[in-house]
């Protein structure tokens, strides 16, 4: 076995040194009745070459964004990623390190995390970011639990235009401690209904949760939602599912957000059929000690050299056990490293330019598809890279037709919204050329 260096002879020497006759003696404490007396019923070992062949055959059964033209977004985005990312994260010193508990020999991971925290603060306009959560939905759930801790209140007001899976996950978490949810609908513009939100917010509300751009791709006016929440002493939680948008959009931190939670996948992380992804979590300094997750801080060693350590651990489970701010331990360090390299490579101008290309390509597609017979735009509000298209035929039929032309046309919204059962969520990124957009429009019946 190529991963197990010790031979039978090596093991024999070690067993002799231990002073037992056989390896079985070392398992004598496992009661005989519960010992497995047969081999595990799993397939026999495969050679590297045979296994690679098998996995390639499985991979070939999946569609991928190279072989299909895809207009799917909805929380997972197909962005271009620079080649250097794959190379740098494959360095064994990053890939095969544990959580940096020993700072003297973990400065690479720690400085990268400190840079990540800084970049997320700059991007979101918030004051502190943690070093990562699992992914967008559970990060949003943790934001709600934190708002509950900060305010001591038990009600949550959530916009229906927040990603449906984020809402489902927050319900799963909140049900454990009996938080009550109220849902805010959306306007014909596709934005959260401010009037309804104001009616639902009250002195028992822990937080108002909105997404920006929201699940329909529509850009919210966060400032007025923030004012409404703050007026009753509630926090504003902003979920960000498409952080590339922050290359252009006003950051939540400048619009009254108290907590920003979200999904970092768009920042250079492969789509990978849904994970592993990157939970974003940032807040204001006054709430720092209520945050979940790891934090890296700068300090000095005995000789005055600058270095980095995991800090404020008294919030965490390994110190505080049941009184911790969260149970989170291993999170997404390597995925945060991907996002760090992506943000640093794209930089100030690059991120803005990618965001602008997403906006322009989507605007072009929107304009083009709105003119196709049987298609219309569902919402009137400004959008970033996604928009909702109302179609005359059943969305499932439309999508099936497109598949015949190797086009994945978007998401059938009937899956999550009965009231939008005649709608598709279409996403256009910098990866979708004008030619692809034309092909989509043509395949949907709009000639040219």
């Amino acid at each position: 076995m190529r991963y197990i260096p010790n031979t039978d002879a090596d093991c024999r020497q070690m067993l002799d040194a231990i002073g037992v006759r056989s390896v079985g003696d070392l398992f004598a404490d496992i009661p005989g009745a519960v010992r497995l007396k047969r081999p595990l019923r799993i397939p026999p070992a495969l050679s590297e070459a045979d296994l690679a062949k098998h996995l390639r055959s499985l991979a070939a059964k999946n569609a991928d964004a190279d072989r299909y033209v895809s207009f799917l977004g909805a929380g997972c985005y197909n962005h271009f990623t620079p080649a250097i990312i794959g190379h740098l994260i494959s360095r064994g010193e990053f890939l095969t390190a544990y959580t940096p508990y020993q700072p003297e020999i973990s400065q690479g991971t720690l400085q990268a995390m400190y840079e990540y925290q800084t970049l997320i603060c700059q991007l979101t306009g918030m004051e502190v970011s943690n070093a990562s959560m699992y992914e967008g939905a559970s990060a949003t759930a943790e934001a709600i639990l934190m708002a509950h801790r900060v305010t001591g209140r038990n009600e949550v007001v959530v916009a229906r235009s927040v990603h449906p899976e984020y809402r489902q996950v927050t319900h799963t978490y909140a049900r454990q401690i009996d938080l009550t949810f109220h849902e805010v609908g959306f306007t014909p513009a596709g934005t959260a209904d401010l009037k309804q939100a104001k009616a639902l917010l009250g002195d028992r509300t822990a937080c108002l949760v909105v997404q920006n751009p929201n699940f329909f791709g529509v850009v919210e006016d966060l400032a007025e939602l923030g004012e409404a929440a703050h007026a009753v002493g509630a926090l504003l939680v902003v979920a960000v599912a498409e952080p590339v948008s922050l290359g252009l959009l006003k950051p939540p931190g400048e619009c009254g957000a108290d907590i920003v939670a979200g999904e970092g996948q768009a920042l250079g992380v492969p789509m990978s059929f849904g994970g592993p992804y990157l939970g974003l979590f940032a807040t204001q300094e006054k709430f720092m000690r209520q945050m979940p997750g790891r934090l890296v801080g700068a300090t000095q060693d005995r000789e005055g050299r600058t270095g980095y350590v995991l800090t404020l651990a008294t919030r965490e489970q390994h110190i505080r056990r049941e009184k911790a701010t969260s149970n989170i331990c291993t999170s997404e360090a390597l995925i945060a490293l991907i996002a760090t390299i992506y943000m640093e490579t794209l930089g100030k101008n690059g991120l803005k330019e990618v965001a602008l290309q997403n906006l322009r390509n989507a605007a072009y597609a929107k304009e083009r598809l709105a003119k196709v017979r049987g298609c219309s735009l569902k919402f009137s509000g400004p959008t970033f890279s996604e928009f909702v298209l109302q179609v005359k035929r059943k969305p499932a039929d439309v999508l099936r037709g497109l598949l015949r032309k190797q086009i994945i046309g978007g998401l059938d919204l009937s899956r999550f919204y009965p009231e939008l059962k005649d709608c598709l969520l279409v996403c256009v990124t910098e990866q979708n050329s004008r030619e692809e957009i034309e092909a989509l429009a043509k395949a949907m019946g709009g000639g040219r």
Binding site: F27, A45, K61, S138, T172, G274, G275, P276, R360, E430
Partner: protein, 498 residues
């Protein structure tokens, strides 16, 4: 230090923060030229919703970025560099083949919402992985969704809560031994449970009597780690399970230490109802400096109706996602789990097969016991009995010379080794928890043993050398008190003129 692997200063570079590098207008990216009308953002989104620029964001070239991270990587220790005996973390070799497989475009570039008919390879992989893990654990179903071990624990406790709620009373308490990982009480608390500690007995295991004393019909269940954090198999597990089940409770096993007995015994055969697996431990997926992991939850049939959605089902030759579980606890994360991590675990299991997996457990246990017997005498062994995958020493023999566990750990770095887990489990004062795993050769382990013995001698003869360690890494011991008292969690531009 002769005869051991020695850490060296080598050629290590200084590398400032990226924010202190570069110059305005410098670029590290290339994007395709836009071929749609180049409208200004203000024409598409109201100006008040737009930002100017991202203040402080880097402006560097591709070369700058490559060098930046390559230099920083050289300040890190990893399994690829050497022995990483971090107890309870199972730092085994991370096969490179698994990385290549995860990067195949059919996996890495597959969108989670693409049609099921076009995702059959990914779904088949998940379905088969569930079968393998169920067989390894002796369980009926496995939810692959949780993102990490603690997330799996949380999901497991939610299953227990949902199970009791369906019977009319979620109950109030969870029993947790004092040797448990901190995630156990924290996960219970997130589910609203009160944590009742159970004391470990004199032999380092939980005794049935201690459980019986606190077990009543308000206890939802017990969370046991097996083998426990002393590396000792909980040999009363079957009796404990009977006591807990007798009062209607559920038995949760923290599977962080499963590497000790894969193929030798199965949690499901011991009376355990639910267990999470840390695939970044037992199943070789890289820890990446703190994730990504994956924490599948294996469960008995009676808990399966409460499983998170979706589950993966096989109908004829087709694989589908099933959301139709009316009693489900709901979703615990978006999409279907850390697919890329799970696929690495799948590749690992298929590489080892049943014989290789069992062999891995056996060699891991031989390696740990070899260290235990060779270091006994040089270090104090608080529970003197054979261990499973890890052994726990303490600093009792060094404290009289004013050398503590932390000093020993730091000195090991000078010898070129990552330190063991220290000061855990909490029930051993000054614990040194050593887990070698099966992927280390006898020679490597002998070098580690020699280094530990040398440090024990140094503690007696030249204590300052040990107390001042580490001497070789790029930085020395950090002022952690300062870090916590004056938190500096992000870079900020220096005020002008300073």
């Amino acid at each position: 230090m002769s005869g051991t692997t020695v850490g060296t200063r080598g050629l290590v570079f200084n590398e400032p923060l990226i924010f202190e590098q570069g110059s305005p207008g410098r670029e590290g990216y290339s994007l395709p030229a836009s071929d749609v009308p180049e409208k200004k953002a203000e024409r598409l989104i109201p100006k008040k919703l737009l930002r100017d620029e991202i203040p402080g964001f880097p402006e560097v070239s591709e070369v700058d970025v490559v060098r930046h991270f390559t230099r920083m990587s050289q300040w890190n220790y990893g399994i690829d560099l050497g022995f990483y005996p971090l107890g309870s973390c199972t730092m085994k070799y991370n096969p490179r083949m698994n990385e290549d497989m995860a990067r195949l475009p059919g996996f890495a570039r597959a969108h989670p919402y693409q049609p099921e008919a076009l995702s059959q390879g990914a779904l088949q992989l998940l379905w088969e992985l569930e079968q393998y893990l169920a067989e390894i654990c002796g369980m009926d179903r496995v939810s692959l969704q949780p993102s990490a071990g603690a997330h799996g624990e949380l999901t497991g406790i939610m299953l227990i809560r949902a199970y009791h709620t369906s019977k009319g009373n979620p109950r109030k308490k969870i029993l947790i031994p004092d040797s448990a990982h901190g995630t156990n009480p924290a996960s219970s608390a997130v589910c609203g449970y009160q944590v009742i500690p159970v004391k470990s007995g004199a032999h380092g295991v939980v005794e049935p009597q201690a459980v019986a004393e606190v077990m009543d019909d308000e206890v939802a269940g017990i969370m046991l780690t097996n083998p426990n954090t002393l590396g000792i198999f909980e040999d009363y597990i079957v009796d404990i399970a009977k006591i807990v089940h007798g009062k209607g409770g559920q038995v949760y096993c923290d599977g962080a230490n499963l590497n000790a007995f894969v193929g030798i015994a199965r949690p499901g055969d011991m009376g355990i109802d639910v267990i999470q697996l840390n695939v970044h431990k037992t199943f070789s997926t890289p820890h990446g400096g703190g994730g990504p992991g994956a924490g599948p939850v294996a469960m008995k049939r009676h808990l399966a109706p409460f499983s998170p959605v979706p589950t993966v089902e096989k109908k004829g030759n087709q694989f589908t996602l099933n959301y139709d579980l009316p009693k489900s606890i709901g979703k615990v994360r978006s999409f279907y789990g850390s697919f890329g991590v799970l696929l690495r675990a799948y590749t690992y299991i298929r590489t080892l097969g049943p014989t290789g997996l069992r062999r891995a457990a056996e060699v891991a246990v031989i390696n740990a016991n070899y260290i235990l017997t060779q270091l006994k005498g040089a270090y104090h062994l608080p529970y003197d009995r054979y261990c499973k995958h890890e052994c726990v020493f303490d600093d009792a023999l060094q404290v009289p010379d004013n050398v503590k566990t932390l000093d020993i750990a730091k000195r090991l770095m000078d010898y070129g080794f990552h330190p063991p887990t220290i000061y855990f489990p909490l029930i051993v004062h000054g614990a040194l928890m050593i887990e070698p795993t099966e992927t280390e050769s006898k020679e490597t382990i002998d070098q580690f043993i020699a280094a530990m013995q040398a440090i024990a001698r140094e503690a007696k003869e030249s204590g300052d050398l040990v107390r001042g360690a580490p001497h070789y890494p790029r930085v020395g011991r950090m002022d952690e008190t300062k870090a916590a008292r004056q938190p500096n969690l992000r870079w900020r531009p220096k005020p002008p003129g300073s």
